[in-house]
């Protein structure tokens, strides 16, 4: 079936099996491989993207369910001139990433969190990112990154 979406501001279309997960539509069909897959139980959040402005784990929905949606992936966060999104810049500033595998999902979830709550407490950041797992950082610097981004916003 043909699935048409707008991804990072561009009209996209691909012919996929009806059972195709959104994350595989993005990765395998549109070749936007920045969105990662870290589990098969919607536990890790590595695949988090924005759909119509809300953060969603893209392994929890079918591509077909995203027909007509406006999708933002990690590839769409920096400006066209390459300037990092403030959340990306904060992660770099605070060493909020090591291997970088959970990072796209973390950045997407964290930027969505700040949209809902522009001045979160440390505890609110931790609770807001509860659905995103990282094995490298122990979260300390991820939380610091999000608080830094909030302060700079």
């Amino acid at each position: 079936m043909q699935v048409e979406t707008t991804v990072n501001g561009k009209a996209m279309s691909a012919d996929v099996e009806p059972r195709t997960l959104l994350v595989h539509y993005l990765r395998d069909e549109l070749e936007l491989t920045g969105t990662n897959v870290g589990c098969d139980t919607s536990s890790c959040g590595a695949c988090t993207v924005h759909i119509d402005g809300e953060s969603v784990k893209s392994c929890t929905m079918l591509a077909a369910q995203a027909r007509g949606a406006e999708i933002t992936t990690i590839e769409g966060m920096a400006s066209a001139d390459g300037t990092l999104h403030p959340m990306q810049a904060a992660f770099m500033e605070c060493h909020g990433l090591q291997c970088g595998y959970c990072t796209p999902g973390m950045v997407m979830a964290a930027s969505s969190l700040l949209k809902e709550n522009p001045n979160p407490t440390e505890q609110e950041v931790r609770e807001g990112l509860e659905g995103n797992l990282c094995r490298c950082t122990g979260y300390h610097n991820i939380v610091k990154s999000v608080l830094t981004a909030a302060g700079g916003a």
Partner: protein, 795 residues
């Protein structure tokens, strides 16, 4: 240029990873690729009666289906998958091929492989392969293995794979225990852990259109070791194999292996002349990637009336799992030398028995043997402090090596020579930062008040052995390779620098740290330095990344290669400036003639001159291109003090880690930002073992919690912020004075957390708590201790 060594430079790796441009294996695709779908055993131990592949083979998009027997008959393998560390001459090591043919030995053993044109179709077809198993008795735990009534490998006649002793002076050890006032014994379980790097493992093998060469992209820590081992076990010439580890999403030891999937991808791609790929699913990883820990420890300590240690005796039973993988049997031995911790121990004995079970194989996991050792000694030290009636910090002070003062090159009871240490100031700093006196007062207040939430404070003073490794020391342990590392520093005609690293990063920031080392040595802007790594065609020599070795061996090799560059550049500069080499100063990237400040040459100018070779000293080779292969004279021994502060809810048994203080000493620092990140992450992995994680198996050998739904990798809400601090005791094992730090956090934290829980529960008479200390376990311990007390006080 100001110094960049020791500064928190932002990472060069980050922009790509932050924007989705970093390429992991599953991000890379080539035309004509075939997806492997693994048909995995659903039984822990069984005879394969028959496999029906007909339906799977007829499904749309399916290229072929091969059973284990068919693959064996195709002659894909010259030898079984390797174990590089046969710890004893008589160690049992049943052959482990990438697929099982007649008997499966653990749930997840591959019995057939499907090749199809998409990941979905490969998974569909794998499910349609029908296997007729005849169950055999399964050795589903180390207890089963020791009991020996069931055999994990029927043909071996025993489950015991090896016995390994390290008892430098048996008579002294016996005398120590005979003369002791206090003997304290602890029995601990190091539960199996699922490493759970966030990137599942994956492979993509691409045959070249001509020449029979194979390029393997794989999510590995060890491309160089893998290349040698794949060549040896597949029979494909080393010179025809190119291994690339692209962006690798965490390793923690779990990507330090030679896996069935890697061998299958290479050999099938070679046989079929098609690219072959596979990406592990998370729930598959509990079966397709090795696990960590899996030990039972018996730890005894003998002390005099003042708590001064007279001897330490440790025995461990180690669960190898179903097969010996790359360094499976060596993992417990890596810890063997650390069962005496940071203490002055006159007599020492360690024995290890390795056992086969019908479970996923074990192998390296962050710390690999050292967290287990540190846990055992630090738990019994706390037990001894209670026995003697002094505080945990006091019992440690009484026993520190060199009286807690600074030392260099000190031989300890386990026969190793510790490079350097200075333990008391490190402990003092931790106690200060933790505000220990205030914590103890608060603890007492809560005890007196009968507070629902009791406070526990746990201490761990660890030492670890890293910078693997002096090759001769490895020879003594019967390890099948050396421990050197290679580094090349190449000045390009444009004045930029290319650095080739043998050690291979997967999150540690080598590109940044190596740039800092080179920038500092050569006086060149870090932005002009490019670090190449992780591709055996670009970096043909290397021993890779594990055992906290990258900086202490590989970073040092690069620093020493810089020294060679400088030595050669000095001769060129002297020649061109018509000066004596000894009359040249090299500062901030410029050779200047002493006393003539205007006369000098930048190293970039010398590099160009070395490239054109128009005016070099007679007989000198053109170019500045120097390689160093560094084989360290000794290991490095980082140390530190960790303090965990927990609140235990006595009504629910829930433990909350409310504060964590870590004072680490990893010698000199290259990049404090990276060090801090390593410490944080390491600590949380140890905390996870103490509180949350553990692979659980039923009596038939099925893993009950393979997915991230059931296996509790901590989320951001389960861990606190971490307070860090450092002392700086340079290593004597390398010219940079650096020690590793990647595993230190994990080595210190599990013991600190469990010591804290036991400290909180002390009024109940509870002296031990097994890991993970789940709320149910803690609640039961409190209630059972209290009911015993109410019934007459532990009679």
């Amino acid at each position: 240029m100001t110094a960049v060594m020791g500064t928190p430079m932002k990472r060069k790796e980050d922009p790509k990873l932050l924007t989705g441009e970093g390429k992991f294996v599953d991000d890379i695709h080539v035309h004509g690729e075939l997806w492997m779908g693994m048909v995995r055993s659903t039984m822990a131990h069984a005879k394969i009666n028959a496999i029906d592949t007909a339906e799977a083979a007829g499904m749309p998009g399916v290229h072929s289906v091969f059973t284990g027997t068919q693959l064996q008959e195709m002659g894909l393998w010259a030898a079984p998958l390797p174990c590089a560390w046969p710890v004893t001459e008589d160690m049992l090591n049943p052959p482990h091929f990438p697929t099982a043919s007649e008997v499966v030995h653990h749930v997840g053993d591959i019995v057939a492989v499907v090749l199809a044109d998409s990941r979905y179709r490969a998974a569909d077809a794998a499910e349609m392969v029908v296997v007729d198993y005849e169950p055999l008795p399964a050795v589903a735990s180390i207890e089963d293995a020791i009991a020996g009534e069931k055999l994990a490998h029927a043909g071996l006649g025993t489950n015991k794979a090896f016995h390994w002793p390290l008892i430098p002076d048996p008579d002294a050890l016996e005398a120590a225990f005979a003369n002791a006032t206090h003997v304290v014994k602890g029995e601990f379980v190091q539960q199996r852990l699922i490493p759970a790097a966030m990137e599942p493992r994956g492979v993509l093998a691409i045959p070249s259109p001509a020449g029979g060469d194979i390029t393997l992209y794989t999510s590995t820590q060890v491309p160089h070791i893998l290349k040698v081992m794949l060549a040896a076990t597949t029979g494909i010439s080393e010179s025809k194999l190119r291994i690339i580890a692209p962006a690798v999403g965490g390793g923690f030891g779990a990507k330090l292996n030679v896996n069935p999937d890697e061998s299958l991808a290479v050999t099938l791609a070679n046989k079929l002349s098609r690219p072959v790929r596979w990406t592990e699913t998370r729930s598959e990883a509990a079966f397709s990637t090795h696990q960590g820990r899996g030990q039972k420890q018996t730890m005894e300590i003998a002390a005099d009336e003042n708590g001064k240690i007279l001897g330490v005796r440790a025995h461990i039973d180690a669960d190898m799992g179903a097969y010996m993988m790359l360094i499976t049997p060596g993992v417990p031995l890596l810890g063997s030398f650390l069962y005496t911790g940071v203490y002055d121990v006159p007599a020492f004995g360690f024995t290890c028995d390795g056992y086969f079970t019908n479970l996923t194989p074990t192998d390296a996991y962050r710390g690999a043997g050292r967290p287990e050792a540190s846990y055992a000694i630090e738990r019994v030290m706390d037990m001894l402090s209670y026995e003697v009636g002094v505080t945990p910090e006091e019992i440690r002070r009484r026993n520190y090596l060199a009286g807690g003062g600074e030392f260099e090159n000190l031989e300890v009871a386990s026969t190793l020579v510790f490079d350097s240490g200075n333990y008391s100031p490190n402990l003092d700093m931790a106690l200060d930062m933790a505000k220990m006196a205030e914590l103890r007062a608060e603890q007492q207040r809560r005890r007196d008040a009968g507070d629902k939430k009791q406070l526990g404070i746990g201490l761990c003073t660890y030492v670890e052995i890293c910078g693997l490794a002096p090759s001769r020391a490895l020879a003594g342990l019967n390890y099948g390779a050396g421990g050197w590392e290679a580094g090349t520093v190449r000045l390009l005609p444009t004045g930029k620098v290319e650095v080739v690293s043998g050690s291979t990063p997967h999150g540690q920031g080598h590109e940044t740290a190596w740039s800092q080392i080179v920038a500092d040595k050569l006086g060149i802007d870090p932005a002009d330095i490019t670090v190449l790594h992780s591709d055996t065609a670009i970096s043909p020599l290397g021993m890779d990344t594990y055992g906290s070795r990258s900086l202490a061996v590989g970073g040092v090799a690069i620093a020493m290669a810089c020294d060679k560059v400088i030595d050669k550049a000095r001769l060129i500069a002297a020649h061109q400036l018509e000066a004596n080499p000894d009359d040249l100063d090299f500062e901030a990237g410029r050779f200047g003639v002493k006393g003539s400040p205007d006369k000098g040459l930048l190293i970039q100018e010398i590099a160009f001159g070395a490239f054109t070779a128009h005016n070099l000293p007679d007989g000198m080779e053109p170019n500045l291109n120097e390689q160093m292969i560094f084989d360290p004279p000794n290991f490095a021994f980082p140390f530190g003090t960790h303090v965990a502060v927990v609140e235990v809810d006595e009504d629910t048994g829930e433990t909350e880690l409310i504060d964590y203080i870590a004072i680490d000493d990893c010698g000199n620092h290259v990049n404090p930002l990276i060090i801090e990140g390593q410490v944080h992450g390491g600590i949380v992995q140890g905390v996870a073992q103490a509180l949350y994680e553990g692979a659980e198996y039923d009596a038939e050998g099925n893993c009950k919690n393979p997915s991230l739904m059931d296996y509790l990798v901590p989320s951001p809400t389960e861990v606190p912020n971490i307070q860090t601090g450092y002392t700086y005791t340079p290593s004597t094992s390398n010219p940079l004075g650096v020690k590793g730090v990647g595993e230190a956090g994990t080595i210190g934290s599990a013991a600190a957390v469990i010591n804290a829980i036991c400290d909180a529960l002390r009024p109940h008479g509870i002296t031990d708590m097994s890991m993970p200390a789940t709320p149910m376990k803690v609640w039961k311990a409190i209630n059972s201790a209290d009911s015993t007390a109410n019934n007459g006080g532990g009679q």
